[in-house]
Symmetry: D3
Subunit: 227 residues, 6 copies
């Protein structure tokens, strides 16, 4: 049994807020990739996660553990959506640990995870899976599609970067110059990218087919270099 | 270790659509019951379940298995909400089998389940848990609070029943005289109630505190007799 | 790795009451099918299940939950028999959920389940697995081999049906015109067949090789149409 | 939560071949003990195990692994019988490892195991559980009730021993002077008894109430000393 | 069942490098605490972890995932040591998730975890468990016993701090002024402490009995304030 | 999917005491074999196991259960070492039961186990896996590489045997003529070999490449015949 090459990608939770049309595109693109690759996907939580967490806060839940866990469960629900739509070519449940992901990828064409543990972003999950599988590049459908050097809403001269070093991006993040969804990745994920030499190709979540260009060597969004 | 008496109840998914105020009442009531009882709760899926299933259908998922599984996952997300709000007095995750429910009830004050398997209503889950634990009465916070003899929207003479025999109710259900949410229970659940002699006390999901009256022997909604 | 076509079949528990000769035939037939198909098998409980349940009743166990669970465990013991005889081409333990069945089928030639949960027939398990895998036909080795329109022991004019609509069969079952083993399927299983458009090919448990004819398009028993 | 004292005992599979009357006695005795003790029970396989194994051999299964596994599953089915009859005071499923047994005993009054792994007798399971829990005495309802110094069927002068040293008994077993059911324990189990200083009180499986006498310090069968 | 108060503490891996005498003291102290508290312990990896990781590097393993996993397994081996020594008052295996920790604490007096996932320190595990259980103070037996404001080996004027704000300590850590074992905690753990208002009482791993003083309100080491 | 032939081998714990150079050789040899075979490996505990057990004894742990469990965990840590070095061609965690081993071998090129249960040698684990898979020969890298007829350190005329019958070897072992590491196998393992007709090819742990010769039909160490 010759093992296929692995492809690891993350889809922001926002993609699941947009309704069936966008989702159908993802299913089409992933279904195609799955003929040539073993595909590992990490999904985010999005609007539904925020709504559940909001309700919990109002009910008086202050524990960050429980708020995080709730977000993780919603990200798994989004994972399930892809699994259902890709069945029978998908591993039949969201994987909940890296070990399970690694074991599952040998049995199914597509394996999908949501968040794994509290206090860890789904971007970190993507990088950790890449580490475990020895991958040197991952793909990340983010809410903004490109990394900016400062908040484009506040600063007219903000630049979308084509290539950025992870260490630089870390500094931008620490100075909190990127609000909300522009801060598409966190320090912990960048650290894993650097320590293990993994490139992160940022893509726009609105255009699932951008990955074709990226796989041919193009760079339709931002490439984060592990340095 | 003296085992406390068990109390099993179901909360319709609708209760989770109403926002934090109603949920806070449930948390208050259940927290109080948990001082005297081992409490087992089954939660439904509600609006979020319907929305996810709707999206899946539009993406082209026709498999009832996957649509049911999606609904089950949302019901578990609702279960998680209660678990978080009742922590640390709750078993720390939604239980996913009756065996797990029965084992967990000896370790925590409150155990919460969503749906268990495709093709089975959460009302049936409630009755099966009662069977496994040998309980003779369960409590069901439903969307309508009372059983009607026909559709109250269509028939001005429809009657809210105080007491109804399960076999009668089964006939009403088979004739499909109760649309949508008025059909609060299914044949399979009624069969379990009958075969194991379990009373079902229907309550209004809008008034969590109705259970106090029911526990004192009152009947604020409808009592379904297992005959 | 090209996925093989899936074949799902149920073997009545009665087949395990007949001793080694019949079992050897099943092993031979399934072993052959497993070269061309991924084979999923559901096994029933039979005589040993009835005996254990009988003893439990006499010991005073009235809980239908526990009686059902006991029957399920015997059906799994029968599943184990096939697994042992088909090893190393079989998944090495009875699967206990549909998710596990779907994941296992990608790793082994033959996957075997017994019952899954209380209150659900093994015929329903077969139909649910078909739903999860998107199959449109299943095979069912039943105790009688053909569906009758009424009890052949009571009515000399009872007819064995070649083809029957699931909805018709449901009516026959509801009128309880088929006693004991002639009632080879239950309403719940028929509902799944209808809602997901799955044909059920009934075969005689005494003749495992009937499936060859059925796979060539023949109908050696009764075909239940999902309408 | 004050931990209760632990009591570990084995019931030969033969006890499950005798029908409901004997079983009812066991349920009564164990239910009583469970008020004062945390009770761990190991059950054997008996006649049903032998029958299933016999069929498998005739079907052509030669692998001792699979024959042993089949015996283990039947012993777990017998375990389930006790669990059902003792519910809700029992841990709700047969435990399948020593770790699970040790964790379960803190949550339920009665925990029941069958066999654990191929090539290991249920007598060894009993001794291993005692080792894990630090117990110095176990109770064993065996097919013969007493240890003999030679085969009583062949040798008119065979003696039933009141007390026997484990090392002596080991020699008797190695010389194969005790056929079939008279060889109630194996070398491996005796080694564990010796290395961990655990007494084995043999009782007759026909008289569950003998344990009362043994708990008061009497010796109604044979006491095997760990030396 | 009245729940006991919870006590969460971490023991540096270094404590397991020192041989039986120190370990015996820990067992004595924890055994005593377990009479009044539900005790949750997190253990580090120490010398054995470093040795295994060193060998793996030399064999050519560059994946940080696998190096981290190896360290986690050694920390679990250290956890097992405490479990064995505290048996039967301990949960019988190292817990491997926060959910399992929270469920286990209701069944046993002492629950022990090692590391949970790659890229996360055992200090973070301690804080996450505290978050999940709603604790406001944790105890940390560290290699140095006190927090310093700079490297005491390099700077003669380095001060051992009695109280330090987590945000201050974070700055000291970021400037990398504390080498090796003096950097007893990481930024991620401090963030959890701050976001959930959890005090960290640092103690010296050489003096297990320091916790008595800390429980009486004293501060034998350094108190890290969550601000 | 054509199943590859299976190869089962054991590596003594001593191999993990020798540092990276020897380990690198094993990784090279196994990596090569994994192209042609499904490889199942069982690893022993070695020096680290003895050290941990020694500490536990000194802390006062007398329970053989806990001492055995500790040894098992170290053998699994050694298993992890191989898994890490062979990733991504290895199943991503040490398997902990024979069922898991059998299921895993269909999904990965290399599956590694340590010990499984207390009171059972890793040599027995090797033979049980062979039984479960129907293998007729296993390979065993032992501390001495050859079986001797008596202790070579004491008896100048001790002979290294090229071929030995398992029953003969059992006698040598029972007379305790082989001390320490010369007693490379135990009675229980030999019994499994005999009952299932499995040859054991002993090899020297210092020369991983000896297996090439053995696979070509040569006998570089000792061949234990199952008679």
């Amino acid at each position: 049994m010759e093992q296929k090459r692995c492809l690891a990608l993350k889809i922001t939770g926002k993609a699941f807020d947009e309704g069936p049309e966008l989702l159908r595109k993802y299913v089409h693109v992933i279904g195609g990739l799955a003929r040539d690759y073993s595909v590992l996907i990490v999904t985010g939580g999005g609007r539904v996660a925020r709504e559940y967490i909001e309700v919990l806060r109002k009910v008086g839940v202050e524990s960050n553990y429980w708020l995080d866990i709730t977000g993780i469960w919603v990200s798994r629900l989004n994972a399930l959506t892809l699994i259902a739509a890709l069945s029978p070519h998908s591993y039949p449940k969201p994987v909940t640990s890296i070990e399970e992901a690694v074991a599952a990828i040998n049995t199914s064409r597509v394996v999908v995870a949501g968040g794994l543990i509290p206090g860890q972003s789904t971007a970190s999950v993507l990088l950790q899976i890449a580490e475990a599988l020895g991958l040197k590049k991952v793909y990340y459908y983010s809410a903004v599609g490109k990394v900016y050097d400062k908040d484009p809403l506040k600063y007219p001269n903000a630049k979308a970067l084509s290539v950025v070093r992870a260490s630089e991006l870390a500094k931008i993040l620490e100075q909190e110059m990127l609000p909300g969804e522009y801060a598409l990745i966190d320090l912990q994920a960048l650290k894993i990218a650097i320590r293990s030499g993994i490139e992160v190709q940022v893509l726009s979540y609105r255009e699932p087919e951008q990955i074709y260009e990226a796989l041919k060597g193009g760079n339709p969004g931002t490439l984060i270099l592990p340095e």
